[in-house]
Symmetry: C2
Subunit: 144 residues, 2 copies
DNA sequence: CTGAATATTTCAGGATGTCAAGTAACGGGG
DNA sequence: CCCCGTTACTTGACATCCTGAAATATTCAG
């Protein structure tokens, strides 16, 4: 019950944590907004984004979205009902179903990425050196 | 069908955008995790956090959470059922209900903030100057 | 071939979110 | 003072997201 666990956090760190919270909030706002412009929910947009390169097994989608596989079933169902995604058998393992973006799905995914202007517009105000510095700082944070 | 709309985004900006995406993902993970440790959902934790300073009208909660007021009703209902929040009349306007954290609610909110160690642990690897630089860069991003 | 493990789906149920309609209270103009 | 438009909150119906347990089909090791 000592104060060991929260050993006097310096105000600068607190401020940076707050700023990161603001960045997170704003990123989310803009992401949901961009998704809504394409009549997608956030979860649907995230899943569709994962399929933009190649078909992906349901299992892996669940891992990447950090949710249960049974949840992925529903999201893919809805995207499939709208013709943006299709299920294909995996030739190598008949248990597996691959979710693949249709041509229309890829088009929507592309439009989505383009309208995702967060951190593009804000970053425009930074010089190249500042962007480099920001990149390095973020890298080091994420490596920790 | 020209490339006008996406006028050649430089790789550095793309990388920084990606890094910010990773930060957002990680922040969310840890936030949900911290909330779950206190048997709260993310939405419940966010709302409780808004009440840690002072009672807040339902209306304002909806604005700050960026959702419909009818949604706030349900979240407060669940927190109230668990004794973490209570509804009080606003002496100045009988239409308004103020949501206020109970003593127990404040305790949980405090514990929540303390277990929110993201960006505390990662920031530990940065020097004071680096933290200052990061703060300034984030500020400028958010001001834009 | 048999049995344990894996991939997906289905179902029940809770939480979050929207929208439309209803109730209560405020507040200004006759 | 009363009416009426506005505001604050709640309710109900409905879609989505998410979990956990059970069912089905397939793989793979022994």
């Amino acid at each position: 019950m000592s104060t060991q666990k929260t050993p006097r956090i310096d105000p600068l760190t607190l401020e940076v944590v707050d700023l990161i919270g603001s960045v997170v909030a704003r990123y989310h706002e803009e992401y949901e907004e961009a998704a809504a412009e394409h009549a997608l929910t956030g979860a649907q947009a995230r899943l569709l984004g994962l399929l933009s390169m190649e078909p992906v097994p349901m299992r892996r989608l669940a891992q990447q979205l950090k949710c249960e596989p049974s949840n992925v079933t529903g999201i893919v169902d809805r995207l499939e009902a709208r013709g943006l995604v299709e299920r294909r058998p995996d030739p190598a393992d008949r248990r597996v179903k691959l979710a693949a973006a249709t041509a229309e799905g890829r088009k929507v995914a592309r439009g989505l990425r383009e309208s995702l202007n967060f951190a593009r517009e804000p970053l425009a105000g930074l010089s190249d050196e500042e962007r480099l510095a920001l990149r390095d700082l973020l890298r080091r944070m994420l490596d920790a």
